[in-house]
Amino acid sequence: MSQFPYLSVLTFLPLIAALGLIFVPAEKKNTIRYTALFVVIVQILATALVWFGFNFDLTGINKLEGYQFVEKFTWIYLTGLPIFDTFKVDYFLAVDGLSMPMVILSTIIAFVATISSWNIEETTNKPGSSKGYFILLLILNTGTMGVFVALDFFMFYIFWELVLLPMYFLIGIWGGPRKEYAAIKFFIYTLAGSVLILLVIIGLYLSVLEPYGGSKIHTFNMLAMMDKANFTSDGMMSLLNPGNFRFLAFLGLFIGFAIKIPLFPFHTWLPDAHVEAPTPISVILAGVLLKMGGYAILRIIYPIFPEQVQQWAWWIAFLGMINIVYGAFCALGQKDFKKLIAYSSVSHMGFVVLGIATYSELGIAGGVLQMFNHGTVTAMLFLIVGVIYDRTHKRGLDDFGGLATQVPMYTGVVTLAFFAAFGLPGLSSFVSELMIFIGAFTSDAIRVLTVISAIGIVLGAVYMLRALQKIFLGKMKDEYKTLKDLTVREYVMFVPLGIIVILFGIYPTPMLDIMNKTISNLLTAIQ
């Protein structure tokens, strides 16, 4: 416990900066922007140090000893309450091989989103709004980071909800023409999921006892919930209780998390939110927020409700398949560039779900890796839409054509991102998709689903190349004669992402080393 609290810094530095920025006058745009940039750079350093000090042999998941960079102490402790009796919340942050890739992803996306937000006043035509924007962005940053490092369910929930609020305002104020509709849809949809999650949290809390100071008290500690021995015999989630609510609890959590992924049929908030959100917010939304769902399923549902997962694995894989194929067809049917990318996210997140439903090391590791890869690739894709939209204020696929010769560097970046998106070998998504497919194909139960899912590979190329052709090939309209190629600021966003996409495509080992032991342990834990 004597070590430096890296995770606290990672999580709360943005919040502190946000609070500090309240006292900065709104005219001091540069102070505000550079503060935000400073925060993400510190986060990058902190993440790098955590990665550097990361022990690849620890197994995480269900044993405290398996975690690293642990910060755990009692935060709230009330006694003598009605119903609850005692109410104890721990300040409990730690990482393992499951959360580490997500922390790295959040850091990268936070950096990219900050750079992309640099001229938010100009791009959204809201002069003087930087202050509010960056404060909300920083709060959002705390929320996303917190979700991935919190191991106390109560804290997890706070972070989970903390993400919603700034997101609502960021879409609702800085968004496009239908921003109010999109923001409220996003908010209510995810809030509905949160209510389900909250109910299950309370149910679990009341069913689990953990030793504390000589006696046993209820706890929000996720690790305690993963051990069947900790459930009281009469608790509503206890296996011993004949009328237990475990299935309902599983369902509640699953729907709550599935909305975030988003899983069919809960996905329709996504295209609207994406299309209306300003570019950096789309980047965070697709890059990090969607991963919260997949992460939570693995972190919470798998170890706490293993029997239900096993029982419903086929259906989870089925939903994953629907996402892949249905999302791909929907993407192909779009006329709006940004909506196409949004539906491609639906399709690609389907691979994640298919992977984690396989119940194999390869599939689950592939799913986690796919979350990371999709995060970086889709960030590129939304930035790409942003670049062209900033310049032309158009997004329809048919509005463009023949831009390749006019903006060759931009075209190069787009080509890289598009081919990465549909899993070209040598680029990052291929590795994760391959792992998912091998994992899924190995399982007899879901082999047929896997074969159908493979259609997504073909369709992925179809909708991406169709977009590429419509925008960049063919005849160019005269109105684009003055279109400018990428600026230095845009290179700063694209180059790191591009390097990651290529590097992890050729050599994914560093990322896989992080998660290897943890995933193995997850599988042992849920047997």
Binding site: K185, Y189, F264, P265, H267, T268, W269, Y326, F329, C330, A331, L332, G333, Q334, E361, L362, A365, G402, A404, T405, P408, G412, T415, F419, L424, P425, G426, F430, L434, M435, F437, I438, F441, T442, T450, A454, I455, I457, V458, L459, A461, V462, Y463, L465, R466, L468, Q469, F472, L473, G474, K475, Y507, P508, T509, L512, D513, N516, K517, I519, S520
Partner: protein
């Protein structure tokens, strides 16, 4: 020493990739970076040559492999390991040499052909990437890495076909090429997965060993057939076989040197190479399917080539047709014939394309109607093209004669042994048509009167960059580079060394009809016997084929001096059927493509109106409920409250009556109550 060879091999493969990176990342100012890339390509060629000779002379019997683990996952008994696999046998080094040679010649040719293009760095970079992908593809013994390089080949072709993407046909063609290939790759990918889950390995040599031992997917030969055919789907896409051949003719929209590369050394060669590699895993049923698809593609494409007017389209369908023959060769079990024809075809087809490029460059037209009589103006192009054409039809003393003879003989022998002469018929018919269309090509371009005087006046052979590659390739079309015996390849180093069926792949005991493998030979003695007997007949057939095809072409275009046009009557219908490529593009347009887009539109509609509609309906109902509650609140709840208030008020009003404010009435009331109270107290 073996490690040195492996390093050399890695260098040969990686240098073109390095060239790609250098050329792509070159800043705008460094306009000459493409020269560096060409230089790198030359170094790669020299190293490939060194590798080739070292391997052939010193290690001819060995398969040199090196593997290392990229990553491993899991901790169980059998963790998943992803092995990077570099494998080199004689076939690999031969193809490395062939690919680098043709690639370099294409680079050299492009120096002149693309001289005016502003994006030369990019173009040469893509050529490097293309070469790299193909070199990698032939250098691995892992089916997964074949797949990986396979896709990279697809990427490079996309970039190069779409290099002039501002032209609509190029834009369409590159997407079409990639997507059509991707359809084939769907099967390929599933085949890879099937092999992996069965053998827990991607290593082909290991897998072949297991198959030879009788270990099949799901323990059944049916599934081995399925796995083989799934993999073959990939080859159908890449090697442009029916029904996925439609991309290849459109791929002409790319620069012509690229066409030469695609049609000869890279891309289309990949599919045939793969099925040759996978030869030991095909079952009898698989062989039949492969043979029939190959034969049908060969014949169909040849009929289409008869009537095309675009000189590159003629060559494109010629490629589909020749690839069909190679695939057919695999199908009839002629392992060597397929791979040797692949290599020889690469030389003369690259030559034909570069030749057509020089004509296009000189006349600024691709229409055969703009040409004629060019032999006087472009003697180098003429004589080299004639050499290639003779090779294509299998004229004696050319390499084409040697490889075509093998295919013809093998298919004839298969007929003799099984009574099934369908393959032989395919080959004969295709060859007749081939002789006809390629001499139609020659006669219409180089003989007769110039049909476009302006183009004719300006035509010439251009400079050394154009001429040298043509001459080198034409020289390679003579037999003596490959065998001293002009009649047959038997006993030459090509069959005994380069493309010998590796012993290590020989199954112990396996019977696929004509293939009765015994140690040391994959063919039964009966088969070999029949092979020797049939050679003479095959040669005679071949001669008749050439006579018939070339004779007809000569009669029509030299004697009668016909000009291509749609004939009258029923023949015209056939002519149009051929010229419109059997209307397959149109058929796909209204079925697959339209179907996909309709499905997409339908799904989008469902998403918007049904899936999201439910949500919006829910929201609407919620709002309606809210409005109802608001009204309820206003009129009922609040009404009740108001009612209570009103009742209160009413009684208050009543009580208020007592609050008169007059001291006398208060006192009177007080007195009344006091009296009542006293009475109450005392009554108890």
């Amino acid at each position: 020493m073996n490690t040195h060879l492996t390093l050399l091999q890695a260098l040969v493969i990686l240098l073109p990739l390095f060239g790609f990176v250098v050329a792509i990342l070159a800043p705008n100012k460094m306009k000459k970076m493409y020269l560096v890339e060409t230089g790198i390509m030359f170094v790669s060629l020299v190293l490939a040559a060194i590798l080739f000779f070292t391997k052939i002379f010193n290690f001819s019997e060995e398969i040199i492999r090196s593997q290392f683990t990229l990553f491993s996952l899991g901790m169980g008994e059998k963790p998943f390991e992803l092995l990077v696999d570099l494998t080199m046998d004689n076939m690999t080094v031969s193809l490395l040499f062939m690919v680098t040679l043709i690639s370099f010649l294409v680079h050299f040719f492009s120096l002149e052909y693309m001289a005016e293009d502003p994006l030369k760095n990019r173009y040469f970079g893509y050529l490097g990437l293309f070469t790299f992908s193909m070199l990698g593809l032939v250098s691995t013994g892992s089916i997964l890495f074949i797949y990986i390089f396979w896709e990279l080949v697809g990427l490079s072709s996309y970039l190069l076909i779409g290099f002039w993407g501002y032209k609509d046909e190029a834009a369409d063609a590159c997407s079409k090429a990639f997507i059509t290939n991707r359809v084939g790759d769907f099967g390929f990918f599933l085949g890879v997965l099937t092999l992996f889950i069965t053998y827990r390995s991607f290593d082909l040599f290991y897998i072949f060993g297991e198959i030879a031992k009788g270990s099949y997917p799901y323990g059944s030969e049916v599934w081995l057939t399925v796995a083989g055919l799934l993999l073959f789907c990939g080859a159908i896409g890449k090697s442009a076989q029916f029904p996925l051949h439609v991309w290849l003719p459109d791929a002409m929209a790319g620069p012509t040197p690229v066409s030469a590369l695609i049609h000869a050394a890279t891309m289309v060669a990949a599919g045939v190479y793969m099925i040759v590699r996978l030869f030991p895993m095909f079952t009898e049923t698989a062989f039949i399917v492969i043979g029939v698809i190959g034969g049908f593609s060969a014949l169909m494409a040849a009929t289409v080539a008869l009537t095309q007017l675009d000189i590159k389209k003629i060559l494109a369908y010629s490629t589909v047709s020749q690839l069909g023959l190679m695939v057919l060769a695999v199908g009839v079990g002629a392992y060597q014939a397929a791979i040797i024809h692949l290599m020889f075809h690469a030389f003369f087809k690259a030559g034909l394309f570069l030749g057509s490029g020089s004509i296009i460059h000189a006349t600024h037209s691709q229409d055969i109607m703009d040409m004629g009589g060019l032999r006087k103006k472009m003697p180098v192009a003429f004589y080299t093209t004639l050499m290639y054409a003779l090779s294509l039809i299998g004229f004696p003393l050319t390499i084409g004669f040697l490889s075509k003879e093998m295919i013809l003989t093998s298919s004839l022998v298969l007929g003799n042994m099984t009574g099934n002469y369908i393959y032989f018929v395919f080959v004969v018919l295709t060859s007749v048509l081939t002789s006809f269309y390629i001499f139609r090509y020659i006669f219409l371009i180089f003989f007769g009167e110039p049909r476009n005087k302006h183009a004719y006046e300006h035509a010439n052979d251009l400079n050394i960059f154009i001429k040298l590659p043509l001459i080198v390739l034409a020289a390679l079309c003579f037999f003596f580079f490959f065998t001293l015996n002009p009649i047959t390849l038997h006993g030459s180093y090509v069959t005994e060394l380069l493309f010998k069926f590796p012993d290590i792949l020989l199954p112990k005991e396996i019977t696929h009809g004509f293939l009765t493998a015994s140690p040391g030979n994959i063919y039964s003695t009966e088969y070999m016997h029949s092979l020797h007997e049939s050679e003479l007949l095959a040669t005679l057939t071949s001669a008749l084929i050439i006579l018939a095809g070339v004779g007809t072409a000569w009669y029509m275009y030299m004697k009668k001096k016909l000009v291509p046009k749609v004939p009258e009557g029923a023949l015209g219908k056939l002519y149009l059927f051929s010229q419109n490529k059997w209307y397959l593009d149109e058929l796909y347009g209204v079925t697959v493509i339209k179907g996909t887009h309709l499905t997409a539109a339908l799904m989008s509609w469902i998403d918007k109106n049904i899936v999201d509609g439910v949500i919006n309906l829910g929201a609407w109902v919620t709002v309606a409920l809210g409005k109802f509650s608001a009204a309820f609140d206003l009129y009922v709840i609040d009404g009740l409250v108001n009612l209570v208030a009103w009742i209160n008020g009413f009684f208050s009003m009543f009580i208020r009556k007592f609050q008169t404010g007059k001291v006398q009435s208060y006192l009177t009331l007080a007195m009344v109550f006091i009296v009542l109270f006293v009475m109450y107290v005392f009554s108890n």
